[in-house]
Symmetry: C2
C-alpha cells in the first residue's frame, strides 16, 4: 500500500484548498490567485490572466472513442474556455506533452496540429513547452491571455437577485460521448450535432470578451463540469445560492436527438455532463436582453438564456414540475468516487 493511498483521502476541492493555504496570500503582484477560472497577474504584468489544465488519458479521454485530433482540440478548447470565462483575449500557450515510447509523426501532427489550429483561430501563439515520455498520453496546457482594458470577470461577483444566464445549448458534449460509447453511427443526422459538440467544442471567447467589455456582468465562469457543479462554485464564491428552472434549460439539439434514440436524459447531461464550454454569468435581470444582443452580435448569433436567479442560498436548487431539489455539485468528484 503506497503512502499516498492511505486514508483519510482528500476530495478535489480539499486538495485545492490545502494547496491554496500552503501557497499563502500571494502578495502585491497577484490580483486573483487560486480558485477562479484563471489567475489575474498584477504589477508589471497587470491585465494578464493565466490558466492551466492537465488532461490524462484514461481519466479525461479515451483514444478508443476519439482520434488524436479530437483529443488535442478538446484540450485546447478546455483551456481557451477558461480564458473566455474571464473575458480575456488569448495570447500565448505552453504545451507539456507526455507521450508513450516511439510516437509516430502522424500521431503527434494530428494531436498538436489540432491544438495549434484552434489556438490560432483565437489569436493564441504556442510559445513553448516540454515533451517527455510517459505510460499514457498526458497533455498540460498553460495559457496566458490579455484583458485589453476590461476588468476580468470573477466567480465572486454575483449579487442577490441576479439573473443566472448561460450561452448556447447544454448537454451536447455528454450526449455525444454517450452516442460514441454506445457504438452508434457518428454521422447520423441529429446525434451528429452532439458528436460534434463532444469532439469539436467551440470555446466562447468572443462572447466572453463582449460580456467583459459591457461592464454589466457581475460574475462569470465557463461551464466545464456541468451547470450543477459550476453554478455551485459561482454561488459559493459569491456567498450566495441559486435556483434554476428545468423548464428554462436550453437543452442542446444534439442532446435531445441522442436522448430520443438512446433513452437518455438530456436534462441530466445538461446539469451534470460537463465539457459544454459555454459561459455561465449573472447580471441584473433587466440587463439580460441587452447582453443577449451583445453576445449574438459578437458571436455569430449565439443565444443567451436566463435559467434562474441568485438568492440567499447556500447551494443550488432545481425547480422541476413545481418541486425543488438540491443539485449542488451534482455529487461529482474526481477523487472520492469512481465517476470517470
Amino acid at each position: 500500500m503506497a503512502p499516498e493511498n492511505t486514508p483519510p483521502a482528500l476530495s478535489e476541492e480539499e486538495i485545492i484548498r490545502l494547496i491554496a493555504t500552503l501557497a499563502g496570500e500571494g502578495g502585491g503582484d497577484l490580483a486573483v490567485g487560486i480558485g477562479d477560472d484563471a489567475a489575474v497577474l498584477g504589477g508589471p504584468a497587470k491585465g494578464l490572466v493565466v490558466t492551466t489544465d492537465l488532461l490524462v488519458e484514461g481519466s479525461h479521454f479515451d483514444l478508443g472513442f476519439m482520434g488524436p485530433a479530437a483529443v488535442g482540440w478538446r484540450a485546447m478548447a478546455a483551456n481557451l474556455s477558461d480564458l473566455a470565462g474571464m473575458g480575456a483575449q488569448p495570447a500565448w500557450g505552453f504545451l507539456s506533452l507526455g507521450l508513450k515510447a516511439g510516437p509516430s509523426p502522424r500521431f503527434v501532427e494530428e494531436l498538436a496540429g489540432a491544438m495549434v489550429d484552434l489556438g490560432q483561430e483565437h489569436g493564441l501563439v504556442l510559445a513553448g513547452g516540454d515533451t517527455v515520455r510517459s505510460p499514457q498520453l498526458i497533455i498540460n496546457l498553460c495559457l496566458m491571455g490579455r484583458m485589453g482594458g476590461a476588468a476580468p470577470l470573477l466567480r465572486s461577483g454575483g449579487r442577490p437577485g441576479d439573473a443566472v444566464c448561460v450561452t448556447g445549448g447544454l448537454g451536447g458534449s455528454a450526449a455525444g460521448l454517450a452516442w460514441l460509447q454506445a457504438g452508434r453511427d457518428p454521422d447520423q443526422q441529429g446525434p451528429a450535432r452532439a458528436v460534434a459538440a463532444f469532439t469539436r467544442p467551440q470555446p466562447r471567447l468572443a462572447a466572453g470578451r463582449a460580456l467583459a467589455q459591457s461592464g454589466r456582468v457581475h460574475a462569470m465562469m465557463d461551464l466545464s463540469d456541468g451547470l450543477a457543479s459550476d453554478l455551485a462554485r459561482l454561488t459559493r464564491a459569491s456567498g450566495l445560492g441559486a435556483k434554476v428552472e428545468a423548464g428554462l434549460m436550453p437543452l442542446h439539439a444534439g442532446a435531445l436527438a441522442v436522448a430520443a434514440e438512446l433513452g437518455g436524459d438530456a436534462l441530466a447531461w445538461a446539469l451534470n455532463g460537463g465539457e459544454d464550454f459555454e459561459l455561465l454569468f449573472t447580471c441584473d435581470p433587466g440587463e439580460v436582453g441587452l447582453l443577449a444582443e451583445l453576445v449574438a452580435e459578437a458571436a455569430g448569433g449565439l443565444a443567451v438564456t436566463q435559467v434562474g436567479r441568485l438568492g440567499p442560498g447556500p447551494g443550488v436548487a432545481l425547480v422541476q414540475d413545481g418541486r425543488e431539489r438540491d443539485i449542488t455539485m451534482g455529487g461529482w468528484d474526481h477523487f472520492r468516487e469512481d465517476s470517470t
Copy 2:
C-alpha cells in the same frame, strides 16, 4: 498495437521540432519561442519569461527512492533552474498535479509544501493550477519570471573562441541517485553530499541574474540533462561546436565520494548524469575571472570553472589523456532508448 506506437518513431528533439513547425513563427508579441530554456514574451508582456516542465512518476522519479517532499522540491528546482538559465527573477507559478485516487493530506502537504517553500525562497508565488486524478503522480509546473531590465540570456549567443564555463560542481545528483539505488546509508559522510545534491538541488537564480546583469555573457542555459547534452544544444543553437577538457571538469565532491565507494565514474555522471541544475555559459576568455567574482559575490561563494572553448564545430568533443572523443548529446533520448 496502438496507432501512436507505429514506426517510424520520433526522437524527443524531432517531436519538439515538429511542434515548433506546426506552431509557426509566433508573431510580434513573442521575442523567443520554442527551443530555449524559457520563452520570452513581447508586446505588453515585454520582459516576462515563461518555462514549463512535466514530470511523470516512473519516467522522472521513483517514490521508492525519495519521499514526496524531495519529489516536490526537485520539480520546483528544475523549473526555477530554467528561469535561472535566462537570468530571470521568479514571479508566478502554476501547478498541475495528477494524483492517484484517495491522496492523504500528508502526502499532498509534503509534496506541495516543498514546492511552495523553495519557490518562496526565490520570490515565486504559486498563483494557480489544476488537480486531477491520474494512474501515477504527475507534476507540471509553468513558471513566469521577470528580466528586470536585463536582456534574457539565450543558448544562441555563443561566439567562436568563447570560454565555456559552469557554476558549482557536476555529477552530484546522478551520484546521489546511484547511492540511493544501491541501498546505501544516505547519511554517510561524503556520499551524503551527493544525496543532498539529488534530493535538494539548489537552482542558481542569484548567479543567473548576476550573469545576465553583467552584460558580459554571450550564451547561457541551465544544466539539466548533463554537460554532454546541454552543451550540444547550446553549440547547435549558436551554430558552433565545443571542446571541453576532462581534467578541467569541476567534479562534485559527493560524486567523487560515491565513485570511491561504489566504483562508479564521476566524470560520466558529470557529463551524462543530468539534474545538477548548475549554469552553463560562454563569454570572452578574458572575462571569466570577473564573472567568477560576480557570481561568488551574488551567490554565496559559488564557484565558476572554465571547462573548455567554443570552436567551429559542430558537436562537442571531450579531451582526455591527450585524446579527443565525440560526446555530443551523450547518446541520450527519452523516446528512442530505454534509458530511464
